[in-house]
């Protein structure tokens, strides 16, 4: 099962990377009100179904992939692994 994890800085947590990116986009002429930088983690996991895969990846987020004090996460199950 393929899963994608999105890890974001929590609202209210200063994100200097996002500010730098937003400022650079502004210099290019884009009107950007806010920019936040997070990370994407693509995983392939063994699971019987999507619900089991999601539960497993959420446990990974709690233990390692995100720091709950500063980051939020979203898990998306994106499909079966290629055989």
């Amino acid at each position: 099962m393929k899963a994608t994890v999105l890890v974001r800085p929590k609202p209210g947590i200063l994100d200097p990377q996002g500010e730098a990116v937003g400022s650079a986009l502004g210099h290019l002429g884009f009107e950007v009100r806010d920019a936040r930088v997070g990370k994407v983690i693509d995983l392939e996991v063994e699971a019987t179904d999507a619900a089991a895969a999601k539960a497993q990846v959420e446990r990974m987020c709690e233990r390692l992939l995100a720091n709950p004090l500063i980051e939020s996460y979203e898990v998306e199950i994106v499909g079966e692994s290629a055989a």
Binding site: I13, L14, P16, Q17, A20, L64, L65, N67, L69, I70
Partner: protein, 226 residues
């Protein structure tokens, strides 16, 4: 009777950089410095542990996030839970936060720049095993060298846990926090590097005040056990 030499361990992870300086500094301050390898599940017989600076396991994902699960870190957590003295320096501080031995998190410097310079610090607590040779209000000069040193406390941090504050904040740390202790006071973490400042030839020997305090406290524990 000669005063006993306390045994202080220094953990080396793949990517640790300041472990040798920490071993050297502790030995210079009359401790028996003991190297501990990251895959050791049990610590040798120690009176204190230092978790040193560097980039453990490449600091992938988040600083300290992978080191937090290494066998030696689990052993350090057990040692701390039993009341053992643990000092985390820079990456060691990040590891102790990730491991939950200290509250809060260390994130990217507000400037996005790696800072490498001497900073001035104010001592807030002089009653801890790490600050016995300092006095509250005293200023220390220690080097910092980090890209992820901005400390974010949890909402419920007890201000009494703050041990050191920056006089001129180099990284955007909340409330200028440079070092803090656990609630019980036996664990401390700090971003500046006392192990790089134990001889005037290195620009400052203020780091020796902190490390010698730890050696004193470790020695007291040896004497109490005799």
């Amino acid at each position: 009777m000669a005063s006993p030499q306390p045994r202080i361990g220094v953990v080396t992870y793949p990517g640790s950089q300041d472990d040798r300086d920490a071993l050297w500094a502790l030995a210079a301050l009359d401790a028996e410095a003991v190297a501990v390898w990251h895959d050791e599940r049990e610590l040798p017989d120690l009176d204190a542990v230092v978790v040193p600076g560097g980039f453990s396991y490449g600091d992938y994902l988040r600083c300290g996030a992978i080191a937090r699960f290494s066998p030696a870190t689990a052993a350090v957590c057990e040692f701390a839970a039993a009341g053992g003295l643990v000092l985390g320096i820079c990456n060691g501080f990040q590891i102790l936060c990730e491991a939950g031995l200290l509250p809060g998190a260390l994130v990217r410097n507000e400037s996005l720049r790696f800072v490498c310079r001497d900073v001035r610090l104010t001592v807030e607590r002089d009653d801890l095993p790490f600050t016995g040779r300092c006095s509250a209000g005293q200023q220390l000069v220690l080097p910092v060298k980090h890209g992820d040193g901005r400390y974010l406390p949890p909402p419920d941090l007890d201000p009494a846990q703050v041990v050191l504050r920056y006089v001129d904040n180099p990284n955007g740390s909340v409330d200028d926090i440079a070092g803090l202790s656990s609630e019980a006071g036996n664990v401390m973490g700090l971003m500046p590097h006392p192990e790089h400042a134990v001889d005037p030839l290195l620009g400052s020997d203020d780091g020796a005040l902190l490390l010698a305090s730890l050696v004193d406290a470790a020695r007291d524990r040896v004497l109490a056990a005799i």
